[in-house]
Structures are given as C-alpha cells and as structure tokens.
C-alpha cells in the first residue's frame, strides 16, 4: 500500500528526532555554547544593569545565530556520507518533502530548544520578565528562518570537506535581516514599546524562506547527489 505524504513526513521527523536523542552531545553542544557565550558578556564587561540591558538584544541574537550554525552542518552531511541520502532520494517520496521534514525536525531539536533555554540567558542579561514572551516569539521565528536558510547552505556544501566554514559564509550574510529585526523586537520588548512591527517582519521573512527554501535546498541536494 502506498504511503501518504503526511505519513512519510511524520516518519522522517520521527527518524530525525530519534537520531538526535540518541546523540545527546550533538543536541546539547549548541545550547551549552549559547549559554556560555551569553553569560560571558556580563562577566567580561562588568556593566551597570541599564547598560547590560542596552547590549542584551545584540548579544542574545548574535549568540543565537552562531549557536544555530553549529548544528546546521549535520543537517544532511551524515546522511550523505553513509548513503542514506540516496535511499531517501529513491524512496518514492518527493525529495522536497524529505527536505521539509528534515528541516522541521532540525528546528524542533535545535531552534525550539534554544527558545526554551532563552529565559535563563535573558535573566543573566537583565532582561525584564515582561519582555520574555516577545523575545521568545522573535527567537522562535528567527531560528526557524535560519533553519530554512541553513538547509540551502547545508545542501550546497555536503560534498565539501571543510564545508562548515563555507556554510557559515553562505548563511550569515543572509541572516543579517534576522539579526536586525530580531534584536529590534527584543530591544522594544525591553523598553516596553510595541514589538509588533519587528515581529511582523520576522514572520514575513519566515514565510518567505519556508516557501522558497525547500525548493532551493532540494535543487542543491540533487546537484550534490550527482
């Protein structure tokens, strides 16, 4: 009996999450990196609380971007190395569906986890609790967009031996708008002004990437599979 698209999607997500949880080191590394980098800033700069709040959005977002990059490399590479990617490409399910499922699972295991630990970091940076909701929403949108951008970069670089450096060079410039609007949303949340504009921009970027990136990433994977 044929397997429907939804079933195939959930099977790939299950597989990816199962693999992530069997390798807790890979799951925890980006999170620990995020926690350490953000807590080093207040220790190193010894600022007043008000000054700390001024730099907090920038620190939070730069650390979030860099820690997300750490895990992007693994998105397709291990599957490409052991031949699993070929099996997935010939599974009878569209490669785009598989790319979407893998990217969603990647975000659940990395981006969402980062959003969940962000209040700890926010506390260390002196961000008031009233700003947490907007900050977490902006991080959720930002990390999801980054996963989509990363899927394109990861698809393009799997064939290369030092691909992770190139991956950063491809993804970071594309992520600049995320940093600008994400930090703006967090800053406004701290100062108590309306965050709606910046959040709308982040949401628009998220929709834009999640509609186009799967096709770009699939095309990139097809090239590297050949």
């Amino acid at each position: 009996m044929k397997v429907g698209a939804w079933q195939a999607f959930s099977l790939v997500v299950q597989r990816e999450l199962c693999l992530s949880f069997r390798r807790p080191d890979q799951l925890l590394q980006p999170l620990v990196f995020f926690l350490i980098v953000t807590t080093l800033f207040p220790l190193g700069l010894s600022l007043q609380l008000s000054q700390l709040r001024d730099i907090a959005p920038g620190v939070l977002w730069v650390a979030a971007l860099l820690s997300s990059l750490l895990s992007l490399d693994a998105l397709f590479k291990s599957d490409a190395d052991d031949g699993t990617l070929e099996q997935l490409a010939l599974s009878g399910q569209g490669l785009t569906l598989i790319v979407v499922a893998k990217t969603c699972a990647h975000w659940l295991a990395t981006g969402l986890a980062l959003v969940v630990v962000s209040p700890i970091v926010a506390t260390a940076l002196g961000i008031p609790t009233a700003a947490f909701a907007s900050m977490m929403l902006s991080l959720a949108l930002g990390t999801l967009t980054l996963s989509w951008l990363g899927a394109i970069g990861a698809g393009l670089t799997i064939g290369l031996r030092r691909g992770n450096v190139l991956l950063s060079l491809i993804v970071l410039p594309l992520a600049t708008p995320l940093l600008i609007f994400g930090a703006a949303a967090t800053e406004r949340a701290i100062s108590g002004t309306s965050t709606v504009g910046a959040l709308y921009f982040l949401a628009a970027l998220c929709v834009f990437t999640c509609t186009l990136a799967p096709f770009a990433a699939t095309a990139a994977l097809r090239i590297t599979l050949e």
């Binding site: 009996m1 044929k2 397997v3 079933q7 195939a8 099977l11 790939v12 299950q14 597989r15 199962c18 693999l19 069997r22 390798r23 052991d82 031949g83 699993t84 070929e86 099996q87 997935l88 490409a89 010939l90 599974s91 009878g92 399910q93 569209g94 599979l225 050949e226």
Partner: protein, 208 residues
Amino acid sequence: MNSPYALCFEKVHVWRGERHVLQGVSAQVLPTELLHISGPNGTGKTTLLRVVSGLLRPEQGSVTWLGQSITASRAEYQAVLAYASHEPALKGDLTALENLRFAVGLKRRVTASELRAALERTDVAGCADLPARVLSAGQRRRVAMARVLAMSASVWLLDEPYTNLDAAGTELISGLLQAHVDGGGLALVVAHHQLALRCSVRRLELNS
C-alpha cells in the same frame, strides 16, 4: 524493437569532469532476467547503476521503464525500485529494525513482523534490536539486503552485494536473487565474480 515491459537503457553517455566514463552503454532487461554488470575497477559500473536508478542524469542517452522515461514516471518507477549502494546506508545509532522501518516505511506500509521476517531471511534476525554500529560489516550487508527484500520491489539494483560476506552469505544472496527472478522480478547486479544462478543471466562487460 525493445519490449515495453522491460528496463532499458540506450546509448548512455556520462562524463565525470574531463573523463568520459560511460561511452554509449546500452542494454535491456526483461522481467525474470538478471543483468550481471562486470568490469575492471573504475570503468563506471556504479555510475551506470546510479544512472539506472535515476540518481544521476546521463548527458546523453535514455533510461526507460515500461516504455516510459524514468524521469517522466519518477514516482511510479521509484515505487517498484530497490537500490542497494555499496555502502550499507545504515544509521549506527538506530537498531537494525529501526533502520529498516524508517527506510522501508517511506516506500510502503510495513509491519514490524514483516521486517523481522526479512531479517530472518537474511539470517540476521538476532541483530534486529542491536544498534547498527555494533554489527560487523557482513552483518550490515545482510541487513541492507533485508531492506531490499522488505521493500518488495520488482526492480533490484545491487552494487556489489557480495562484499564482506562469508561463503554462507554469498550462497544466501544468490538464493535470494534466484527467488526474486523466479518470482517475476528483474535485477541489475554489479559483481566481480561469476554468478552461479539457474535463471537467465545477461552479461554486460564494461571496459575503460
């Protein structure tokens, strides 16, 4: 005229950079037949198998299944296709059974008992619940073969299925190939030695 009920490839040309790897290779396989692809290392056997699977698009030439180009009928073709590359394509952190479930489950609805039965047929039922990373190379090859069986596909593309196998394993694979072809399937097998099979075997020798 080629029969429409077969897998055909005609005048396939593939360049790898400056190298002209496949220079107009043609063959056709009917159901209940096996195509044995052989030749020295580096003559493009794996490349040919990747072309036939649809992973690699040839610069010239065509691959057709039931008279239709495999790019035009990709979904239908992939539904009847089982490809085993020379890597076993198993995830070390998943058990043999999970590996099979996630790979075969994308192709057709499958129950755990069917998967266990496939592992039984390749004589690795005892490894079903072990992570693939602790299996030996030969056991992994057998699990990969179980995946091909569980897909219940009619077209098998096997890249060196005899690698790392002991004498019993070699016999086992031959028996499975025989049963597959007798049951109306067709297979393309890349192998370096003679295949001792009773079914009709076409041979394709690639030279540089």
